[in-house]
Symmetry: C2
């Protein structure tokens, strides 16, 4: 077990150049390979290897299977006022999502708020990527995706709804506050990681096959009955996010997306708000500062665990990984080098 | 105990006319009293007495204390493209929120999406009210409010964040799908009701004063340590909703709002989307139908509890209460008659 989990550190540029090399081999142009490599590397840099290094081989597999088309780019299907619908044409999910984020910001430059949607796109990897992208450029971003059927609705035993990650991002101090929030209490990646460590979850993460709430990741991975965030509340939010993604994009809804093994052609929504247009813009950073400062003044239950805002830990980890090299699983890295 | 909880049924028109009578007495014009009485009555009709009949005496108390000003109407502070900021001038929360919902829809008529915000407004009672309002007119609505500090951030013991209710509403079959979703797992109203019944919560709803997760409503009401939806996730969402409400409205943030006993001057955001402008509008109801139909096909854990969409139970209850009279607490009704 120990050797499987051995951790090494890889410099940012080294990891990015490996992704770049492989993407060129699989039909990406230099420009697209550069951008896509950057997104995957940033995800690992920010500590999200499950959507960085560890996920990359599956991304390549999806290209080989034809679910992800390296040459495809989004095409516009509709433009009405501040709303644009784009067909992702099954292009690489991260590139499509990056593009739609840019489009939503362009639209927000005109009237203060804009929506770009994607139908027929692919897994965008880490949801937070697009929040950081927009917030670093000074925009508020609210975006979400639907997914394959990977979670039972509250009260049900069969997975018919998606964990539909939602992002809310706000510019703050030249960086960002980014909430990246899937509708399951724990991601399948997290369950897998905790299982490998031989640990239990701190709180119940799903039902076992006997229908009992469980904090044993192995039991939950076996039952596929992950718990919606807040029981009935996250279940309801998942349904609404799927409905909105479907109707605003004109794309597929969760129940129409193929099984999670071959998930593709998902629907996404990107809403950008141009806060620079507001009269109160000059005071906004100060307002956020005061909110964060009050939050930081919370009395922690565990004195060693100061209360933080969403994304605060990411910044620390990012700086540490940039300085010392990105912390990754040794076998995962060796597997990459063979691609 | 039994007699305190005695339930009677009051016809819709009777309840509304009592609210109307009392509102006139406390300085409302006929037009505003009519609208405000309708909102309070609808809340009870939909089974939400905690923000209908049971809350009305406190609303009147807030008027007498000067926190709610019956004569005040919103005034515009900024209009930029599809964004309008309004000052609620401490007017009645439900009327201000109804007005801002209308404004967001007017803006969405022009460019497909619009935002109206309110600073300096008051408790809007039931969040879902405004979702039903917009969706019945054919608009998607996303709206939320901040609140006083009524919940500890995840990992903290002192209440510094709000339960900041969020609404997402979508038109469906001449009615609506409405998610109405506070960031605490249970509302204080719910804790109070379960305590009165002498029951326990089905799932932990907070920490007791010894810092242990508890499903005893009495313990949680004593500690004021309600649980955020999904632990860290609902805590983060609460912080982001407060930041957005503050910066988009230019109003107060949760930590600046007075204590929950005298809560006033909250901030709210209303985002409307005009789906009728979309080319795919003719197929939207059918798309939603298929999503709901798939959800309904879920295998219920308890065969007696069919899986429903957010708002589905409300419609049933509304029809039942309209037919038989609104089910209310007898003492609460008698208390109203004395106002």
């Amino acid at each position: 077990m120990k050797s499987i989990e051995q951790t090494i550190r890889i410099p940012y540029e080294k990891m990015k150049s490996e992704f770049f090399r492989i993407l060129l081999k699989f039909g990406f142009t230099e420009v697209k390979a550069e951008k896509c490599a950057e997104i995957f590397t940033m995800n690992s840099l920010d500590g999200v290897n499950s959507h960085g290094l560890n996920r990359f081989p599956r991304f390549i597999k999806n290209i080989m299977e034809g679910y992800v088309k390296p040459e495809a780019v989004p095409s516009i299907t509709q433009k009405i006022g501040s709303i644009e619908q784009w067909n992702g044409n099954l292009g690489p999910g991260p590139l499509n999502a990056e593009f739609a984020t840019e489009r939503s910001m362009e639209l927000a430059l005109i009237n203060g708020i804009g929506i770009a949607t994607l139908s027929n796109t692919n897994h965008w990897m880490r949801a937070g990527t697009y929040g950081w992208q927009a917030a670093k450029k000074g925009f508020v971003l609210i975006c979400w995706t639907n997914t394959c059927q990977n979670m039972p609705a509250w009260g049900a035993s069969d997975p018919r709804i998606g964990n539909n990650p939602l992002v809310i991002a706000v510019p703050y101090e030249d960086e960002a506050i980014v909430l990246d929030f899937a509708m399951s209490q724990y991601s399948y990646g997290k369950l897998d990681a905790v299982k490998k460590e031989g640990h239990k979850l701190p709180y119940p993460g799903g039902f076992n096959k006997d229908g009992k709430l469980s904090n044993d990741p192995e039991e939950i991975l076996e039952s596929w009955r992950v718990l919606p965030v807040g029981y009935w509340k996250g279940s309801g939010l998942s349904v609404l996010l799927d409905i909105l993604a479907t109707i605003l994009s004109g794309g597929l809804s969760t129940h129409e997306i193929e099984s999670c093994n071959t998930e593709h052609s998902v629907s996404q929504v990107f809403i950008a708000i141009n806060i620079k247009m507001l009269n109160n813009f000059p005071s906004i950073n100060n307002s956020i500062n005061k909110i964060i400062s009050d939050l930081h003044n919370s009395t922690p239950i565990d004195p060693a665990n100061k209360i933080r805002y969403p994304g605060e830990n990411v910044l620390q980890l990012r700086n540490e990984n940039m300085e010392k090299g990105i912390s990754v699983n040794k076998l995962a890295w060796e597997r990459l080098l063979q691609l």
